[in-house]
């Protein structure tokens, strides 16, 4: 057959190979510094060359598909001329459904085990454990449904492929079975809802978690600012109208609790203490996302939010658990907030109580000397907590 000759022709095959080889790496994968000089004329003309090359390749592919189609057609016709049945596409499709079912289920299994093992490590917070349990239960239930329904879908497609010898079974409805499969999902979902509801209430319940450490997290394009309370354990008020170049958060210094507030670069948290993150945004919506702690809450301008949680695993312990000496907890921004949304991160470190005390003693107050000068409150010594009450007078003067 002529087509066979064409396909088998070694010349064409080797030509094709040369064509392929010479072409790779033209369009793809140029290193950045090559591209830097890409503005030159030569760079651009080679662009078009590679475009032409890929277009040719593309047309070649189309040609191959078309030829294949023609070959099949000719084959089909010639078989039919011999009085046999031609290609039964219907059976081929049914078979492909069955193949897809098997290969697809294996693929899903592979993905679940290999990629599934690349997911987050155990929850590093108290409430996260409840969430993870909920997740496991939901996963098991849905996976069962997933496997069963896909098997039925493609299984039926394969088994009940058309045949001239058979007529389909006329079955317009069956009220009993329909009731059954309305009630079963309803019951399963009710169970999930009830558990979910209580888990959600527990996670969000603020009264049960006592003895908070209040930390302010403020998002703006494109960074997070942290504010820790000083020795008084209280954060001073903020007012966005007071924001200046020096007073980035608009801390209100008419509130004496503000004087000893500290700034920090890293979100350091003592382990097993209740943390209350007070979440603010200055410009657009951001979102505080701490996936390892199962914590997320949007930061909304004009609408302060908070999230209370108890970290339970120190960074050091997590490094051992994950077998990764470089492991760090991270705070991401998880609400689209502009061009650098993808790089709005803060390192989070969970440490022991002693380490925490040691660390916090080293942090600088928000009320920098410059800011003091600016606000004309130079005489204040915020680090000495005993003086604060008398200082209030000075401020009022």
């Amino acid at each position: 057959m002529a087509f066979k000759k064409l396909i088998n022709s070694k010349k064409i095959l080797s030509l094709f190979a040369v064509f392929l080889l010479s072409g790779t790496n033209l369009l793809m994968a140029q290193s950045t510094d090559v591209a830097a000089s890409g503005n030159s004329k030569a760079g651009h003309s080679s662009d078009w060359f590679s475009v032409g090359y890929y277009l040719l390749l593309f047309f070649f592919a189309i040609l191959c598909v078309a030829t294949l189609g023609k070959i099949l057609k000719v084959y089909d016709l010639s078989v039919k001329m011999q009085g046999k049945k031609g290609i039964n596409w219907n059976n081929i499709m049914a078979l492909l459904c069955a193949v897809f079912l098997v290969v697809g289920l294996y693929g899903a299994y592979w993905s679940l085990t290999v990629q599934g093992s690349m997911t987050l490590p155990v929850s590093a917070s108290e409430h996260g454990v409840a969430i993870d349990n909920m997740f496991t239960v939901t996963s098991i239930l849905t996976l069962i449904v997933f496997v069963l329904t896909q098997i039925l879908l493609f299984g039926f497609a394969f088994i009940y492929r058309a045949s001239d010898k058979r007529k389909a079974y006329f079955l317009p409805h069956n009220n009993t079975i329909e009731k059954v499969w309305t009630v079963i999902p309803a019951v399963v979902l009710t169970i999930l809802v009830v558990f979910g509801f209580f888990t959600w209430q527990k996670v969000m319940d603020i009264s049960s978690k006592k003895g908070d450490i209040n930390i302010d997290v403020t998002g703006h394009q494109f960074a997070w600012e942290l504010r820790y309370p000083g020795t008084d354990g209280k954060l001073g008020k903020v007012d966005y109208k007071l924001v200046t170049g020096l007073n980035k958060l608009g801390v209100d210094y008419s509130d004496r609790n503000s004087f000893d507030d500290l700034q920090a670069d890293t979100l350091v948290l003592p382990v097993n203490k209740t943390i209350r993150l007070n979440i603010h945004a200055q410009d657009v919506i951001h979102s505080v996302y701490l996936p390892q702690f199962r914590v997320q809450m949007n930061a909304v301008p004009g609408l302060p939010t908070f999230f209370k949680f108890v970290p339970t695993i120190t960074t050091a312990d997590m490094r051992i658990k994950t077998d990764n000496p470089k492991f760090e907890y991270t705070l991401y921004c998880n609400k689209i907030c502009g061009g650098s949304h993808y790089n709005m991160q803060k390192v989070v470190r969970v440490v022991s109580e002693e380490e925490y005390q040691e660390w916090i003693a080293k942090q600088k107050p928000y009320l920098s000397d410059q800011l003091k000068a600016d606000l004309k409150i130079a005489e204040i010594k915020p680090s000495v907590s005993g003086q604060i009450s008398s200082n209030k007078l000075a401020l009022n003067n």
Partner: protein, 628 residues
């Protein structure tokens, strides 16, 4: 009444040289056509064009995700300032994501899907001459086209198109200084959407009134095919939900251009204190998702209707549980208005409210489950014919299952804390909405192509198209679940800034190549589509041996759909493989008196006279047999 007018002149027709009150010119047949069949084709072709554009955009940003550190000089040649040094700029990346999402959700899967099939199928399947108002119907298309052009024109403004995500949350979208795309690009987005909503309302009102008022004799609501039910309920959903988005959009326009503060409060932008006070960004989210959630069902319900129809025809079996299918559609329609809060679990909304939305959300999964089981039961013991349309319908069910199940995770507020805005959500909605709805749409295109273009599409190219796309979509979206479970946020320009995400880089490369592969498969579709319009095999009257009315209408399109009287309908549309009947289908236009041997008592539930006849016949028949 316009209804009457249409009925009247429909009897006459252009083709045979009769005198007529207006002449058929090129302009009024192909461009400013008021014929629903032509408008359907206009919607389809515009929709497909938009789909290819949006797909190209997605390939562009997928390349960025796969090769964040590499430079492609070609990109700079093509995109200029949007890709300095051959790499997409972060802002332009955001624009691509935004416009991709907007076009796919609204322009392809809402207008392209509902617009095409509501226009084509509603009049043809209920036996009407045209839409209730052909003029408004035409306007609906032209507003849609205008909206599409405005949306795309944003690529030509200096700072690029809107870039705040398809959900355009303010303040990001409200303040031109917040990001480049929030300038002129955002203005164009808003104008385009207002035109779009006008289009969709004009279409929707038309579809609803046509279904309610213009059904042919005998076509009561319970004899309508599921496609018509789905398109009808979709239109109701759209008519009720879209105006809320208009409200939201208009307030946003006010905030942007007239200094109001509906959505803005306490803002310091780039160190500058802004004058806005008293608004709430969350208000916008409520307005947006009040439309947004019904919108996702606006997208999927026509696909469900189409798949039901296609699966029944090609299994040669009645759709299982027709009533349950309709009631679950109605259930979804009603429930979809009270679940929007599940998009807002972590906005700081009162946790109790979150709990309530969790309950309503998981309730909506019940009708979805019922539909799935009924589809499976429809296949059971069928006599399945694998046309490309059938394959796409099966694929639709498969995607709907895979994506719907992850909805159960997301609908659980406790689980959503960690999943919200991650790739898990991306995987969820691309499977359940993106892929499933597109597959429903493609099933419709393959199935009704002969009705639209009077020619057949090539089956084998259809098979090729199906398998590559089907496998490709799973390869693209399945791994994304696990990225989400690792806490990888969506809408990130690059994952390179986080050491923890490095392990996903190879997966990203894989996904991108799978996407490119599926992209190429669409070329097979395009070639098939265009070629078949002009040179495909001519169709026969009823190529799929289907029961519904549209296959009774003449192949040649005539204005008014039927020459002479519109046929009367006697039975439901799913009498396939009825025992006692020789052929495996009985069209809706065949009266029971002609099918005595296959009638069932059930057929005469609300027809006592018919039942009496039937009983008489049964007795007589028995007697005859005994005589023999």
């Amino acid at each position: 009444m316009s209804t009457l007018a249409v009925h009247d002149h429909g009897v006459l027709q252009h083709g045979e040289g009769h005198e007529h009150h207006h002449k058929a010119t090129f302009l009024n047949t192909y461009v400013f056509s008021q014929d629903h069949k032509m408008i359907a084709k206009q919607f389809l072709i515009t929709g497909i064009t938009m789909a290819f554009i949006a797909m190209t955009l997605s390939i562009l940003f997928r390349i960025q995700l796969a090769y964040p550190d590499k430079s492609f000089p070609l990109l700079e040649t093509l995109l200029g300032r949007f890709a300095p040094g051959g790499r997409l700029s972060p802002d332009f990346y955001m624009s691509l994501v935004t416009i991709h999402g907007t076009i796919m959700v609204f322009f392809v899967l809402t207008a392209g899907l509902s617009g095409t099939f509501a226009n084509l199928l509603i009049p043809l399947q209920i036996g009407a001459r045209d839409m209730a108002s052909p003029l408004v119907n035409m306007l609906s298309y032209w507003f849609f086209l205008t909206a599409s052009i405005i949306m795309l024109s944003a690529f030509f403004v200096e700072k690029g198109p809107a870039s705040g995500g398809w959900t355009i949350y303010p303040p990001l979208s409200a303040m031109p200084k917040a990001m480049p795309g929030s300038g002129m690009g955002m203005t164009l987005w808003l104008i385009s959407m207002v035109c779009f909503i006008a289009s969709s309302l004009m279409g929707g009102i038309n579809y609803v009134s046509t279904v309610l008022n213009m059904r042919t004799k005998g076509m009561d609501l319970w004899k309508m095919p599921l496609t018509v039910w789905a398109l009808f309920l979709t239109a109701i959903l759209g008519v009720l939900a879209f105006p809320v988005l208009v409200a939201g959009v208009v307030l946003l326009i006010f905030d942007r251009s007239f200094g109001t503060s509906f959505y803005l409060s306490d803002i310091v932008l780039n160190g500058q204190v802004q004058p806005y006070e008293g608004g709430s960004p969350i208000l916008f989210q409520h307005l947006f998702w009040f439309l947004g959630h019904p919108e996702v069902y606006i997208v999927i319900m026509p696909a469900m209707g189409i798949s039901s129809e296609v699966m029944s025809v090609n299994s040669r079996k009645p759709i299982f549980g027709y009533h349950a299918m309709v009631y679950s559609l109605i259930g979804i329609t009603v429930l979809s208005f009270i679940v929007w809060g599940h998009h807002m679990f972590v906005t700081g909304m009162n946790p109790f409210l979150g709990g309530v939305f969790m309950i309503t959300t998981l309730i909506i999964a019940v009708p979805s489950a019922v539909k799935t089981f009924n589809w499976l039961a429809t296949l059971w013991r069928g006599n399945i014919r694998f046309t490309p349309a059938m394959l796409f319908a099966i694929g639709m069910v498969s995607f709907f299952i895979s994506g719907g199940l992850t909805g159960i995770f997301l609908g659980n507020a406790a689980l959503d804390i960690n999943l919200h805005d991650t790739y898990f959500v991306v995987a969820h909605f691309h499977l359940v909405m993106g892929s499933a709805a597109i597959f429903g749409m493609l099933a419709g295109v393959y199935h009704w192509f002969p009705k639209m273009f009077r020619r057949m599409m090539d089956e084998r190219l259809g098979y090729l198209h199906f398998w590559i796309t089907f496998i490709g979509a799973y390869l693209v979206f399945f791994p994304m679940h696990f990225m989400g479970l690792d806490g990888v946020p969506r809408r990130y320009y690059a994952l390179t800034e986080f050491p923890a995400f490095n392990r996903w880089l190879t997966v990203n490369v894989f996904i991108t190549w799978a996407a490119i592969m599926s992209g190429f498969a669409q070329v097979a579709f395009l070639i098939n589509f265009v070629y078949s319009i002009f040179w495909g095999k001519k169709t026969v009257q009823n190529p799929w041996n289907a029961n519904t009315l549209e296959w009774d209408a003449p192949i040649e399109h005539v204005h008014g759909n039927w020459i002479g009287e519109i046929p009367t309908v006697y039975r439901w549309p799913y009498d396939y493989s009825k025992p006692g009947h020789e052929e495996d289908f009985i069209p809706q236009t065949v009266p029971f008196s002609q099918t005595m041997s296959s009638n069932l008592p059930h057929d005469f539930e609300d027809n006592p006279a018919g039942l009496a006849e039937y009983n008489k016949w049964v007795v007589l028949n028995k007697a005859n047999e005994e005589v023999k």
